[in-house]
Amino acid sequence: MNAIIDPRSVQADSAPAVGGLAIRHVHKGFDIDGRKLSVLEDVSLTIAPGQFVSIVGASGCGKSTLLRLIAGLERQDSGDILLNEVPVAGPGLDRGLIFQDHRLFPWLTVEQNVLLALSNSDEAATDKRARVASLLTLVGLDGFAQAFPHQLSGGMAQRAAIARALAPQPQVLLLDEPLGALDALTRLRLQSELQRIWLAQRSTMIMVTHDVDEALFLGDVIVVMQPGRIARILHVPSTHPRDRADPALAPLKAEILSLLHAG
């Protein structure tokens, strides 16, 4: 890993040595009605293990596509995406992905939904269930193991989706506007929860968001995107857990907003 991004500000001794990403000269386009539409043009980014990276940008700037490429749901036209210096080829349990919609299976209980993510694990069934129970505690869903998704609020369903994504213990957790569909109050609460979970898990997290305050509250590094490219990479100097009113965040916010308006 190289050093274009600072090591994260929390103490790094217990941080995992895996989960570093290198994105090199990635191009991606889509065919829309026979015309080639370029979504990412020569995007390069290096992310150190255990870092929280926020990607902000306007709709259609390619930030979700970048996340889907890292997840292996799409394939880049050219360039490389390396996880621990190994090229990404398709989805893998070393990378988790949380979508804007929870995508729980409605016919399975919360517990069964999270267990599904452990399908490929060799653990005994009782161990799996114990792990699911502790994950549900981590995301604040104690007592809801047997609930069906339709019985949960939007925020609770998203917590269950977070538990499912964490279950296979991914080295990298990708979050695609994970709180975008929630009301403002639930959103603030879950931002704090995400920070707490990240501090507990210490895996690499990459979150795409529209919300500049959310990006600044959670990210060590903010990647500002303009259509098709990375406009700037900013480092957030303050430590975690973070104070939303930290005066150091204000100039960063102004800079990000001016970049977004320019794009």
């Binding site: 997840a71 893998g92 988790g96 995508r103 299976f105 993510a117 399908s119 339709h150 296979p168």
Partner: protein, 252 residues
């Protein structure tokens, strides 16, 4: 307690009222018993048909036709529905034709089918199969189309095996809407079968009614009408019960 008792009795109110009116009207001299038979005569006729074994024969004939025709029609409907949803080619050449033929009532095909297949079992099975085919094919098509791409991505991310995808995703997502299609197909097949038996049959509940009409035995006709309704109702409720058991996860 009281409200559940009320809910149980409420559905019996309308049939009860009709029965009471029927009793009242037939106990006077305003109608001759040949035109509007009294309820007691219908019940006698039912008991007679039951005791002679005649009714059981008719029911056996009708229900075995239903089972066979529905089995063929719904099986083909399932296969065709999946093809229509999964293959752009099949959809391109069969889609519009399917949608157009679907609009024609099954009974409209009866004269043609009788000419083609004669008045034996063939045309009855064909019409029953046709009646079952369309609702099942349509429901299957919609069910397969309804499997969300988002869920398939979740399956890809957690590297679920094809077998797990089938049992944890494809079947749970498609079985409830397909069951609804099967229920519609089954009740339509029943209606069409009785109509076909009224036109041409050697036995069956429809033929029993037609013979009753020809011999001016309105009591026999009414036994047939009541049984047709009850059997259709039972088929519908039976599949509904299966639906409710299989789809307990759904918000009601």
């Amino acid at each position: 307690m009281r409200s559940t008792l009320q809910q149980r009795l409420l559905p019996l109110l309308v049939p009860g009222l009709i029965l009471a009116t029927w009793f009242a009207v037939t106990s006077g001299d305003d109608f001759t018993a040949q035109v509007l038979v009294p309820p007691a005569a219908v019940l006698d006729s039912f008991n007679e048909l039951l005791a002679s074994g005649e009714l059981a024969d008719h029911l056996r004939a009708s229900l075995s036709r239903l089972l066979l025709g529905f089995g063929i029609g719904s099986g083909l409907g399932l296969g065709f529905g999946i093809l229509l949803a999964r293959s752009a080619l099949v959809n391109a050449f069969a889609g519009p034709f399917f949608q157009a033929v679907r609009q024609v009532p099954s009974i409209a095909f009866l004269p043609m089918l009788i000419l083609l297949l004669g008045v034996d079992e063939g045309f009855k099975l064909a019409i029953v199969a046709k009646a079952a085919f369309f609702p099942v094919a349509l429901a299957t098509h919609d069910a397969v189309k309804g499997i969300s791409k988002g869920w398939l991505e979740v399956a890809a991310i957690y590297r679920l095996s094809p077998l797990r995808v089938l049992f944890r995703l494809i079947l749970p997502a498609t079985v409830p809407p397909v069951l609804t299609g099967l229920r519609l197909g089954l009740t339509r097949a029943w209606i069409v079968l009785v109509a076909a038996e009224l036109m041409a049959a050697e036995n069956g509940i429809g033929q029993m009614m037609e013979m009753g009409r020809q011999m001016f035995r309105i009591d026999t006709v009414m036994v047939g009408v009541a049984l047709t309704g009850l059997i259709g109702f039972a088929l519908d409720q039976g599949v509904r019960l299966a639906e409710r058991r299989l789809v307990r996860w759904k918000a009601v």
